[in-house]
């Protein structure tokens, strides 16, 4: 579904990603871990199409298409979804109006009829239950004045509505208490299917108790320096990242 080959990206001339290789097949869950500043969010943003990042080398194909050729909205319509580490507050844009615009633009791209107000509302209701999000929240402006946890929940809610084939969750667990974490994980798990893949970016192993990864990758200084299964996440939790850093230092010599 997603193939990343030797991806290099920089911002304002500073290289951040320095040769990423990753293959994600349908139905798989990949976890990407790594210390702060290693480039996890950058990778997520580059996949979503953030224009400030310049891809200097490498290629990314998604469902056979050159992903890097597409603009952010085209990627979304193709089925890429990024749950932001820091969701943006947008005063004055109503959550409902925004989501309906989004859903219908995605549907239009996929050759589906637009949802009328009634159908859209029932879709909303169904998905609201899934992530246990309060109706009141959705009657407000998009993310405006939401708590950290509410914002994260809203990201998963949007994901549920848009039904992407590749979801990238960027530290969706940070700032969540354990109950909220379970709700979010539960939402993600219910949306899983044999055709849908997930990339879970996280700092801690905690979330991976609830969203079980097929693969765990460690990103460090813009490269994937180690890959394994869920046991690698346990090991990282126990020993921290220092030993990885040492390994990298040793192999580099």
């Amino acid at each position: 579904m997603l193939t990343i080959k030797n991806l290099h990206a920089s911002i304002e001339g500073t290289p951040i990603l320095r040769g990423i290789n990753l293959e994600v097949k349908p139905g798989e869950v990949h976890a990407i871990m790594g210390p702060n500043g290693s480039g996890k969010s950058t990778l997520a943003s580059v996949l979503a199409g953030r224009e400030e990042y310049e891809v200097t080398q490498g290629e990314v194909t998604f469902k056979g298409k050159d992903l890097l050729e597409l603009n952010p909205e085209e990627r979304a319509r193709e089925g890429v979804f990024l749950a932001f580490q820091y969701p943006v507050e947008i005063p004055g844009v109503s959550s409902t109006n925004f989501l309906r615009t989004a859903v219908n633009q995605v549907r239009e791209y996929r050759g589906q009829e637009p949802l009328d107000a009634v159908k859209f509302l029932s879709l909303m209701k169904e998905k609201m239950k899934l992530v246990e999000i309060d109706q009141k929240l959705l009657s407000r402006s998009l993310n405006e004045g939401f708590s950290g946890g509410e914002k994260k929940r809203n990201e998963i809610f949007q994901m549920a509505i848009l039904e992407p084939t590749l979801s990238i969750l960027d530290e969706t667990d940070s700032g969540l208490d354990i109950d909220a974490l379970k709700v979010v994980a539960n939402g993600v798990n219910q949306l899983k299917s044999a055709e849908k893949s997930t990339i879970v970016v996280t700092h801690y192993q905690r979330l991976l108790d609830y969203i079980i990864p097929d693969f765990v990758h460690v990103l460090f200084e813009g490269r994937i320096v180690k890959s394994g299964d869920k046991n690698l996440a346990m090991e990282l939790e126990e020993k921290g990242y220092d030993w990885i850093k040492e390994e990298v230092a040793n192999t580099a010599v």
């Binding site: 199409g49 952010p72 979304a76 969701p87 943006v88 844009v93 925004f98 995605v106 848009l162």
Partner: protein
Amino acid sequence: MSAVTKKEISVSSSFMDTYFGHKPTGPFASLRENAAKELAQKGLPSTKDEEYKFTPITKKIESSITNFGHAMPTNVTISDLKTHFIPGVDTYTLVFNNGILDKELSGDLPDGVSARPLSSLSEEELTEKIALAENKETDPYATLNQLAFQDGLFLEIRDKAILDKPILLLHLIKADNHGQTIHPRLIIETGKFVEATFIQLVASLDEQITFLNGLENVKVGEGSHIHHLKIQDEGKQALEVSNMVVDVPKDATFTSFVLSLQGQMIRNNLTLNLLDSNCEGNMFGIYLTNGQTHVDNHTNVDHTKPHSESNELYKGILTDKSRGVFNGKIFVRQDAQKTNAFQQNNNILLSEDAIINTKPQLEIWADDVKCSHGCTTGQLDEEALFYLRTRGISKENAKALLLYAFAGEVLEKINHETFREYCVQLVQQRLGGQNG
């Protein structure tokens, strides 16, 4: 009058030739003469004048108006007119054809509202009502109106009249052989405990250069609530100066809203005199400009007695080579303790060539007041734009959503529902994109 020669008029002498050099006759002769004297002293403002620093309208008028004569009423039929009514908004309608009330085209007014030509007032009434305020700085264009207006309208609303529909003041503007300048003059006086909404529209019937120089005086009665809503969506060549001076007494509120969409150069001067305690003045505006349109809003609110309140919110979205000016004066006199005055002006520039000049001007002589003001100028929020696009919303629609949200805060202030919906439509049309 003979003392006035064009030499004494430093600015715009060619323009002034039209009005000087002959003694005013007919109605209002003495008012006109006074105005002429005053104007002879101060002249029309150039950009050296602090108040007109960014708005060279005098120069524009001088260089582009070729016929300073009064534009006479032109042939307009009801069907011409229909396209200029506001869809879905039911109103009492007064139609002004090049500044003059057209009885044929105007509809009936409700009980308690009377409209009379100024020329039908007695000399005394006239002097009392339409003499310009002495000892107050009067905008030179208001003085020019006083000198040059043909006739005007006196609109009176009786005590306790609660109007079920707004009164639409529809100005049809069309240049023809007779001239290109129009000086509409309107006086509104309401009794006590009146509730009324006025909607003012200017419709350019052709793409010719015209100069509209309106002067409006509103005297609100005690305990009355008056709304004045205005749309400026004029011809690309239209030049306009609009002066509105409003007196707000005890327990009364006055709310002004203006949506400026198109014109060559538009200057709005809005003055609210809060004359007593427990009165409120609201000033709201949106300017969405493109092309070469230039919109200048100068507002002035004067708090004179304790416990009055003013709220002001103007927002602008400017693109292409358009230009916006905002200048908001708040004056709080020594007596006016416990004043609440809020002012906000926010702007988004969508192109490199668009310009905004914004300036709050606060003069506060009382010590126990709550006053706040803020001006911001920025671009579209790129982070928000990216966020929306990652949800599948096209760049164009995402922009429209964000810009609409920005302007929406002002639109929400409009009390009249169907008029608000109409403004929403106009704003959405201008911002493009499609929602839902």
